[in-house]
Symmetry: C2
Subunit: 226 residues, 2 copies
DNA sequence: TCTGCTATGATTAGCTT
DNA sequence: AAAGCTAATCATAGCAG
């Protein structure tokens, strides 16, 4: 739609790509919300702009993937802590076995040693992490009033908790060694969380909601920060 | 667009809701892929039909949430198995301590007992689970040829593995007790995995891909199974 | 870079098959 | 249900400011 029929193929001109993205993003978000309301269905839509800025459109979904991930991280971490503690206590007995030269007991305790190859811990990759600060709220409104909703650090709880438990860290086999969970993955997680992040990079989540339809005659007005 | 202007409000007539969903879902998927190709951006779109059938549209995304979840589940499970084994071996020593009436040793061993309150295991909720069978492939094609691609059980690996390790099962605090991970959550995970599930319920994942644009003159033809 | 305009192509509501 | 048709509305490409 437009003056000419456009072939669906990567736009090589960067300005054109950005302009088209901005227009079409609004269109698809409006359609997503429209579909969700009309048909009363769950929907998740996440897009990343050519510069990497994520936009989220979610409605009605009752299951929280990010919570699941955090919960799993927490549980794996707690289990690891528990194992570490057992190791520590066992070392007392192992040493005792050594000094007593009681070989049978020694062997028994040795069999308790944990060397689970599936759990790899890295001490180092907390370094290089960007410090996240929560900024202002990018939002869509059904009017032309520009709004600026400041979000306090309330959402920082879970993430902060997870990160402060260094040096223990799970490593995922399918990710490259230098993959930084605090960048790409967090963007998605926080996007899904409907949170908002400002990093050194261009990461401000654009959100879209039903207010669009409360003032039916006006096109949505995008109030964002980049 | 259509014969009349439609107010964006829940359609109360069920047939109308289903018909509208089908039409608009195709429209929004086409737009999502178009946006992703034109602007060369990542996109995730998940919709659930009024009857609960998920449709997925994903392009270019390099981070795999479902893999992360599976990996976390696996690691938590392995850790738990490990702890269980330690318990088993410790019980030998605890019993030994009992029979010897050596109170100091007994207490030492008792201190090794694992009663981590954060890890709750349920034995029972593997029951009620539907047996998942991988069926045929629902797909979009840019032609009117109906295709029927049978998928072997290759995708069953991770899930099958995870499930076969019953009776151990993690429980998530934010979910109700009767929440069945094998239903709702798995639908999302497998949808994200671009997998395909047939259950007793209406769960066949509809997928959408770029082939649509290889034959530009024809509208997309949906070949699905329900 | 962003906003508004508008001709034009794209989508779809209601209908039929 | 599911597919095809068409009038009507909607989205947007290219341009202007």
């Amino acid at each position: 739609m437009g003056r000419v029929k456009r072939k669906i193929k990567r736009l090589e001109n960067t300005n054109c790509r950005l302009a088209t993205y901005a227009k079409r993003k609004n269109g698809i978000m409006k359609k997503a919300i429209g579909l969700s309301i009309l048909c009363d269905v769950d929907i998740i839509l996440i897009m990343f702009s050519p510069s990497g800025k994520p936009s989220l459109c979610r409605r009605k979904l009752s299951i929280h993937i990010p919570e699941l991930i955090f919960d799993l991280c927490d549980q794996a971490r707690l289990l690891q802590t528990h194992i570490n503690e057992i190791h520590k206590r066992l070392s007392y007995w192992t040493d005792l076995g050594k000094s007593n030269s009681e070989n049978i007991q020694k062997q028994q305790f040795a069999s308790l040693q944990c060397n689970n190859p599936c759990l790899k811990i890295r001490d180092t990759d907390i370094e290089g992490s960007t410090s996240y600060s929560f900024g202002s709220h990018a939002n869509y409104l059904g009017s032309s009033n520009k709004t600026d909703i400041s979000i306090s650090k309330q959402e920082n709880g879970v993430l902060g908790d997870m990160r402060s438990t260094s040096p223990m860290r799970l490593q995922f086999s399918y990710l490259p060694n230098n993959f930084n969970l605090l960048n790409d993955m967090d963007i998605i997680i926080m996007t899904l969380n409907q949170g908002l992040i400002s990093t050194s990079g261009p990461c401000v989540v654009t959100m879209f909601d039903e207010h669009l339809y409360t003032q039916p005659s006006f096109p949505p007005m995008h109030i964002g920060f980049t």
